[in-house]
């Protein structure tokens, strides 16, 4: 296991749903890969596309963006805006020489601790398959 590649993933989690969901995964003692570094934001709609690109070009192997399920957003529709930005971002990644699978957007509610763990697990696997970021020095 030692030589297997452990990716480094930056996860943007919204304060109301996904961050609480991650907290629930924690207090429920659910195991998930230690690959993510979580950054709390108030809403997934707050994540500037530049930040995602910056994280990836500074050496993150993947970026995960988690928000509330559509309709559940604490700020009415911040997550919908995040989704539109995510769609646009995916198109831009190729210009930076990055695979679009390195970026993933997911809805996780505050009650979905197990699902958060599962999302992290499957995204980690996905990034593992891609290998380390080309920007890694």
């Amino acid at each position: 296991m030692e030589d297997s590649f452990q990716p480094l993933i930056i996860a943007f989690c919204c304060n109301w749903c996904s961050y609480a969901g991650a907290d629930l995964a924690g207090v429920s003692r659910i195991q998930y890969p230690p690959s993510i570094r979580m950054i709390r934001v108030m809403c997934s709609g707050m994540v500037h596309p530049n930040l995602v690109i910056e994280a990836l070009t500074k050496g993150a192997d993947g970026v995960l963006m988690c928000g509330c399920h559509p309709g559940d957003c604490h700020y009415q529709d911040g997550n919908r805006k995040a989704e539109k930005r995510a769609d646009a971002l995916r198109l831009m990644l190729a210009d930076f020489g990055l695979e679009e699978e390195r970026f993933h957007r997911e809805w996780v509610s505050a009650a979905e601790g197990p699902r958060f763990a599962q999302v992290v697990g499957s995204f980690t696997e996905q990034v593992q398959k891609l290998g380390p970021s080309p920007y890694k020095t």
Binding site: A20, D23, R37, G45, L51, G71, Q76, K81, S109, A111
Partner: protein
């Protein structure tokens, strides 16, 4: 009701919105408790006090049409008895309760001798009519089946109160009906938590027969011409047991209301995967919601006993009172502000703001027209949609500025 009274006694004005035509909810169906108390007397006392209290405005048979606003400044439209009223209030307490599962299994609804614990309790309370079938034939053998509509694939949670409820009714039958000589309780696990354990012992001492069954080998109920037959695998003998029964009583689980979903969207609060309301944190912030100014108690939160519901109602009203006694509330610190030097008035953020908190202003500066946006600090919630939309770093959310998030990213990448 407890929460309403507690707050009204402290001097707050309470709008009590009840879906049904009368107050009381599920308590109306509970006639006696294990310790001999009679909740109906307490319920009548509460109802009287609510009716007499001039600070409580009761809306019975009412529907909530809309809730908007935030802590300290909610506006709710209530329609009741043909009329619509709009009320302004500072906090919301969600105490919408839950309902009893209507069983589909074990011939319930098809056979008159298959009833729920609640039906049985109603019959026991009115004295003579609890016996099976028509003509008040005494029920000699009664079989109780536990965990109906709880702890299954669709409803994985435990309904918490039914164990004690079944034992309460079993003990009651033993006292009231000497004709009932055999009383079986088919259970999966008995959880008579706290001091209720002693009543479980008492029931066993009085000859109530407890038979365990497994989730994948549920008992079967069938009907031949004269009697109901219950078949269950006795785990001690390892053989199926056939019980001819006069009356089968099901412990139907507690299920959340479907309307919870609508209310949750009005209040912007989450439900858990089972459909009950989810508090901010089960240990650190019980009875609070993630949304400020909204509190939770009773069966809307999870299945619980009467005592627990009342305690939680008092807790919720204490938390609500802490908000209501304040003259003014401090604004959130983490809200947006405009960086005038960077903003060029493109107004992309004006459209994206979900709270319409951003406006474009034009003014003359050194002989030319200058455009910038302005934020309204009391309606901004700090979601940051504007920050992510701005191409020029012209509007930032305090505490979550691009530089701050960028620093977090860099720090996270360094540790690797």
């Amino acid at each position: 009701m407890t929460a309403a009274l507690t707050l009204a006694r402290q001097g707050s004005v309470v709008y009590l919105v009840e879906k049904e035509n009368e107050l009381g909810g599920n308590l109306r169906h509970i006639h006696y408790l294990l310790n001999g108390e009679r909740p109906q007397e307490e319920l009548a006392r509460l109802r009287d006090e609510i009716q007499q209290n001039s600070r409580i405005h009761l809306f019975a048979g009412a529907v909530i049409e809309n809730i908007e606003g935030s802590i300290g400044n909610f506006k709710t439209r209530i329609s009741a008895r043909g009329g619509t009223t709009e009320v302004e209030h500072g906090v919301v307490i969600v105490a919408t309760g839950a309902k009893q599962y209507q069983p589909k299994e074990y011939l319930y609804g098809q056979d008159d001798d298959v009833i729920t614990q609640r039906d049985l309790e109603g019959r026991l309370a009115c004295g003579d009519g609890f016996l099976a079938g028509e003509g008040n034939r005494p029920a000699k053998t009664i079989v109780m089946i536990r965990c109906v509509g709880s702890r299954d694939a669709d409803h994985p949670y435990c309904s918490r109160v039914c164990c004690a409820d079944a034992i309460k009714n079993a003990l009651r039958i033993k006292t009231l009906s000497p004709e009932t000589n055999v009383l079986y309780v088919l259970y999966r696990d008995i959880r008579t938590y706290g001091f209720k354990e002693s009543y479980y012992t008492k029931a066993r001492q009085q000859g109530v027969v407890f038979v365990r069954y497994d989730e994948d080998r549920k008992p079967e109920v069938s009907r031949n011409s004269h009697a109901l037959k219950v078949t269950v695998l006795d785990q001690t003998l390892g053989m199926p047991m056939l019980i001819p029964a006069d009356l089968v009583v099901l412990s139907a689980g507690i299920h959340p209301h479907e309307e919870n979903r609508t209310l949750a969207q009005f209040l912007k609060v989450p439900l858990n995967s089972e459909g009950f309301f989810l508090e901010a944190h089960m240990k650190l912030r019980p009875v609070d919601f993630m949304t400020d100014g909204v509190f939770l108690c009773g069966l809307a939160h999870s299945p619980k006993s009467i005592e627990e519901s009342i305690l939680q109602a008092q807790a919720a009203s204490a938390r609500a009172a802490a908000v209501l006694v304040q003259d003014s509330l401090e604004l959130e610190a983490n809200i947006s502000h405009v960086v005038d030097e960077s903003c060029d008035g493109c107004a992309y953020c004006v459209d994206t703001c979900p709270f319409k908190s951003i406006a474009l202003v034009e003014y003359m500066y050194l002989g030319s027209i200058k455009k910038v946006v302005e934020t309204n600090e009391s309606t901004c919630k700090g979601c940051g949609c504007c920050q992510a939309t701005c191409p020029k770093n012209g509007i930032l959310v305090r505490g979550f500025t691009l530089d701050q998030i960028r620093a977090q990213i860099e720090a996270a990448l360094e540790v690797a």
